[in-house]
Symmetry: C2
């Protein structure tokens, strides 16, 4: 499949590399074409990897991953262009972390709204699926890094889109437990979980952790 | 030990009953003495159970549990009286849930502050330990209700107070895994986790669940 990765950070690189390994054609998009990090990534990732602007990547991809900084995601998608996004599934991996006051960050959107909802409102023709934003990049593409099965969440308004993303998570990345939280408003749950994730990251001293749900 | 339970809701009743069963003397406090629910609870809970105002309970208890509604906790502690709280350990079990716009609730405090911090600031001579606010009341006092060990958190500025609360959690309630998140600001993590807890409650269809941390 043709996949767009929006963003050149660690999350974008890690997802892009894994998706190329799985046999997909992946185009990484950034604010400008020939972004230094995107070019470096295509050299490492091989023949099925390409790069360009957000609009280049969005036009190319049948499935899109938003891996931009959460506070810049809305602008990045505007640059990608509604005409290139229309009707497509966008996996929103970003968290609206605001590091302007240092670590741990606050959230620029929370409580009565979420980034996932904001993107869905701004682009009503896009099928936004919030997922993977509750774990570190290494864990996203390799849940077996952890010694026991853990849970990953999907949230979104379109059942078909969640099914498609779940298939990538299970068959592609190896997730065994995918929990459908409900519509896109449930992004508030996984985005606000970052407050706990960040404190656990400090307390445990590693980003390589996740939660396993245990129910009666 | 003499223990005060502030609040007459399900959490207060459940903790109070368990603490009486463990052999403690427990006084339940509410806005007025002889509150209908507090009186009913003392009849059920037996000879070691008593009730009174917030101030009666706070004066009685060597260890205190804040089980009031989070949006009313600050006022409840003011009614309890700083002179009755001074130097004592207060386990803050409350979440600042705002149900004014229906279910799921929003939080009346979040992002850059938390109820735990607010109480600690208002009563600097109290040793506030945030704990148990991430699970349903039944699970608080009976973690074995779940089929696998799960994690419970403590947050607070005083190491001795956290040690005392951890002892109640492990030896009293049977928790096997207690994670010290750090100082009272880490209450932001566990209180904001409620956004995810509430969505999981809806998705799973039961309040009887918790998370087990899995780390590499």
């Amino acid at each position: 499949m043709k996949i767009a990765i929006l963003g050149t950070g660690v999350v974008g690189e890690t997802l892009g590399t894994k998706l190329v390994e799985l046999g997909h054609e992946v185009r990484m998009g950034s604010r400008t074409a020939n972004h230094e990090k995107a070019v470096a990534w295509t050299r490492k990732a091989g023949a099925r990897a390409s790069q360009g602007t957000f609009a280049d990547a969005a036009a190319f991809g049948e499935l899109l991953f938003n891996c931009t900084a959460g506070t810049a995601s809305l602008e990045a998608l505007k640059l990608a262009g509604a005409e290139h996004l229309k009707g497509k599934v966008l996996v929103d991996v970003a968290n609206p972390l605001d590091f302007s006051k240092g670590f741990p960050p606050t959230l620029s959107i929370c409580n009565t709204d979420s980034l996932g909802e904001q993107l869905q409102r701004a682009f009503p023709d896009v099928k936004v699926v919030k997922s993977l934003n509750t774990v570190a990049a290494d864990v996203m593409v390799n849940p077996g890094l952890l010694p026991a099965p853990t849970d990953i969440f999907v949230a979104g308004n379109d059942a078909g889109a969640k099914k498609q993303v779940t298939q990538v998570l299970t068959e592609g990345f190896g997730w065994k437990r995918v929990v459908d939280l409900g519509d896109i408003t449930t992004s508030r749950g996984t985005e606000s979980y970052l407050f706990l994730w960040l404190r656990l990251y400090q307390a445990l001293g590693t980003p390589h952790f996740n939660v396993q749900l245990v129910r009666a």
